[in-house]
Amino acid sequence: MYVELKNINKLFGNFKASDNVNFEIEKGKLIGLLGPSGSGKTTILRMIAGLETPDSGDIFVDGIRINDTPPSKRGIGFVFQNYALFRYMSVFDNIAFGLQVQKQNKNYIKERVLELIKLIGLEGMEHRYPSQLSGGQRQRVAFARALAPSPHLLLLDEPFAAIDAKVRQELRSWLREMIEKVGVTSIFVTHDQEEAIEVADEIIITNRGKVEQKGTPIEIYKKPATPFVAQFIGQSTVYENNEDKIQLKGFEMIKSNEKAVIRPEFVQITKLGKLKHYMSAAEEGIVEKISFRGSYLEVNVKVKNIILTSNRSLEDEMIEVGEIVNVQIYRLYVFNENKTYLLENSAMADNNYIYI
């Protein structure tokens, strides 16, 4: 493994910012560090870079323990959350800074900087100052500055957070392409799951200083390892089989100490009376809200006091707010304190031939 964190702990006062963090990263991968705000993502990044010192635990890069290596000798590029461009230096000088510090040959510096400026598509802007650039352009300069000294590990802290939504989409694919082109192992921090799923080869999910799960976006989505991940990923409704005897058909076996997560793709809405299969598994619900999402509709439907979300194709027959519809729930994620598991609707199970 290229980057390894072993039993990393970090306290700020008596606040546990990193709680026994362990993970490993393969060379050349683009990793997304995903978690809610304050979950310790930046702290992890800063410890890898050497800007913070872990209280205990070891950090290895390329098989070498780097805990005691000074930050400047770690060969790590860092893109700060607000870019931290040197505001009194031009774009050229910003990107050249790391090379000048290394006392590289002047011609080489010029060649390398211009090559990077070309790579980030800012030709002709090398004499501008950061204040004369747009958010997206600043981000590109920060990226080029971090890459200039050819780091073997690139760390990016919320690289898209300060950019407006339109440009963000474009920059995501741009960054992904750039990192592939350069081939540098990278870790980027984000609190936006869509971003992580779209950009990262693998995602590490953090919560309260702990690593909850590490896996490919699909693994994380399909097999959430902890209750936190199950709730955090996807647009989820949390459902409890509580004392009020709200029970969903087909899920009567959920125990009272368990909760369940219902994802939009687990829910099927059908016009009343148009249902052909598994009538016994169908609930009735009232459409509460319909939002147009561009290529599909997002429908909120109330079933037994639970608001469920479902996505509906524009091709399907139109439904209206206030309409009573049939709702089928195919499956859900059940979890208690220790585990999560996928539970299929028992009333819809194919092998249940009694219903055929």
């Binding site: 400047s72 607000n82 040197f86 800074f97 790391g98 510090v101």
Partner: protein, 269 residues
């Protein structure tokens, strides 16, 4: 419009107040100093004791500015870029000269370095004179102008955060390079502004210096002390003539201050 009337009245009151309190006295100083004719003015100004006092004032001012600039940058740097125990306490300590009357500051030095002071025997042994001597004047001036530079740059450094410095450090830049290339361009105008305020205050300092000076004409008299002495001897026109030197220096500083403020604001945009 009623609003406009209120505005005009308020502006008029302010201008009237400033004229009575500040402008007229300043003009009076210049007029009084010239009332015995230009020859008398010249004699008062080129008097050997006046020149000595001017030299001492300049020496004390330059020393205080140099030392406080160096210290001010250093203190502001550690306060804003590092977190450590007792940081708040240090910030408060720096402000002490703002809170303590200069006379008390002078007395403190007498207590420490004077005949009955803790350090007296040590100073005697090495034949060092502080109280009633030039070093005492310089020390007192440094004390009262202590916070000016650091107070001006701390907010600027705080607003900047430490990301840029961290980014430079990650790339392997030395502390000196980080300071000259990243921090200094940023605090340049605030620093100049602080230096100017510090200069103005140092030149006019009276209380603390008065306690430590001993009023030895030609030896430990600064300009303000010299003026007071002339005044007490009823040499009014001489006193005003010498005062006019301070007034002119103050006006020059005010102009500089305005320029720096303007440029700093423009650079900040």
């Amino acid at each position: 419009m009623k609003n406009n009337a209120t505005k005009n009245i308020l502006i008029s009151i302010s201008i009237l107040f400033i004229t009575i309190m500040l402008v007229i006295p300043l003009i009076a100083v210049i007029i009084y100093s010239l009332q015995d004719g230009i020859e008398a003015y010249k004699i008062a100004i080129f008097d050997k004791y006046t020149i000595k006092a001017l030299q001492l004032t300049l020496l004390a001012t330059v020393s205080a500015v140099v030392i406080n600039t160096f210290f001010g940058i250093f203190a502001a740097w550690i306060i804003t870029k590092f977190s450590f125990r007792g940081k708040h306490f240090l910030t408060t300590l720096i402000d002490i000269p703002f809170a303590i009357s200069p006379v008390i500051a002078g007395l403190i030095y007498i207590l420490v370095f004077g005949r009955t002071g803790w350090a007296y025997d040590f100073l005697q042994a090495y034949d060092i004179k502080i109280v009633f001597a030039v070093p005492g004047i310089i020390l007192a001036t440094i004390f009262v102008t202590f916070p000016f530079v650091s107070r001006e740059i701390i907010p600027v450094l705080n607003a900047q955060g430490k990301d840029e410095e961290e980014a430079a450090a990650l790339m392997g830049a030395s502390g000196f390079k980080i300071f000259t290339k990243i921090t200094l361009p940023h605090i340049k105008w605030a620093l100049l502004y602080g230096i100017i305020l510090c200069t103005a205050r140092a030149m006019g300092e009276f209380g603390a210096v008065s306690v430590l000076s001993g009023h030895l004409r030609g030896k430990t008299n600064t300009l303000p002390l010299h003026i007071e002495m002339l005044y007490n001897e009823f040499q009014l026109s001489s006193a005003f003539a010498v005062s006019s030197i301070l007034v002119i220096m103050a006006v020059i500083i005010l102009i500089l201050r305005t320029i720096v403020e303007y440029k700093g604001k423009k650079a900040g945009e």
